[in-house]
Amino acid sequence: MDSQDFRTSLFAAGLLVDGGVDGLYHRSFAFEGIVRGVERYVTRAGRVADDHRFFFSPVMARSALVSAGYVRSFPDLIGVLSSFTGGDRELPALLEDLESGGDWTTHLSALDVALCSAACHNLYPRFSHHAVSRDGQVFEVQGVCFRHEPSPDPARMQSFRMHEFVYLGSPEGAFAHREEWITRGGELLRALGLDIAVVVANDPFFGRVGRMLANGQLEKELKFELVAPISSDTPGAIASANYHEDHMGLEFDISLGDGEVMHSACFGFGLDRIALALIRRHGTDLESWPSDVTERLGMDAGGFGRS
């Protein structure tokens, strides 16, 4: 089954509905039930204190996109919101283009808000210009993320959810957090019946400069992905483990209090991709899924997996 067959089967089963643009989907209650089941399942494994857990808005401060280095490294993936900021004198030109089928969006201006690039990018600004403890803190965060990479492959959604466990603290603590979560995340996903491999990976940095950053990331083994078949037999990433070294600490000016720059690491579960991988593995008929899997996810026949 290739990605197009898989997409067709998702639509036929009513699990996803075409959102009208490549990479954009509306979720059925049944699909949402899987996503929320995975969310509950990984939350139980994370055991983070309530005051270290955040559900971020899909829209974030544009400045965070800049500080995270995302504009510089991934200008082709970002989404910045725009709106009409003119007055009565400027409106007719917009309406003229709108009515003539012209490009009315040229009359809009970029706002100070952007679509969330990665859930953890909302976390670092909270500590900007401050010190965090060398002992380290773990945060559990979730966000609706956006990547401008339109594709008919359902595994490559433009809008998707990321559930992360993020460590802020010492270099040793950040590295250990990532290593621990590669193991724990792999165990959790395998227990759902998924065929998981752990591979060293790189982010899709832009252009020739990006090639160099990607090669550096690979050489230093800063990023690992947990991959499984999603929309085709070729495995795709359903979770990723990243050691940022001092990148976020430098960009957001976060120290360890003794002059040393904070290090950070994150482990992110791609909730929608995990749901898709589970559907590929266990079928589009959720009623026929193995009971141990549905029990782990707390799913039942009701919408959103209420039980």
Partner: protein, 86 residues
């Protein structure tokens, strides 16, 4: 005329955003250990391309190419840059 290594040293000093004085570094000193970041190494790479009118092929766009002044010189020589005066 400055040597190839002197010219490279000048480019790294100007574009490497390094916390140390590059003129005091040995040709073989590890630039990353002396504070060269991944993003700054990209600036160095682009500045070297402008200075020497060359283009680094994909195979050379890696961390080890910019590990030291000496390593950069070796990479430039493979692109046809003369090791002599510049």
């Amino acid at each position: 005329m400055p040597s190839l290594l002197d010219t490279i040293r000048g480019v790294v000093q100007a574009h490497g955003q390094m916390p140390v004085d590059v003129s005091g570094l040995a040709d073989s000193a590890d630039l990353y250990q002396n504070g060269l970041t991944s993003h700054a190494s990209v600036n160095v790479m682009l500045a070297l391309e402008d200075s020497f009118d060359v283009e680094f092929p994909d195979a050379l766009l890696k961390r080890s190419t910019f590990q030291s002044l000496e390593a950069i010189a070796q990479a430039l020589e493979t692109l046809g840059v003369s090791p002599g005066a510049h």
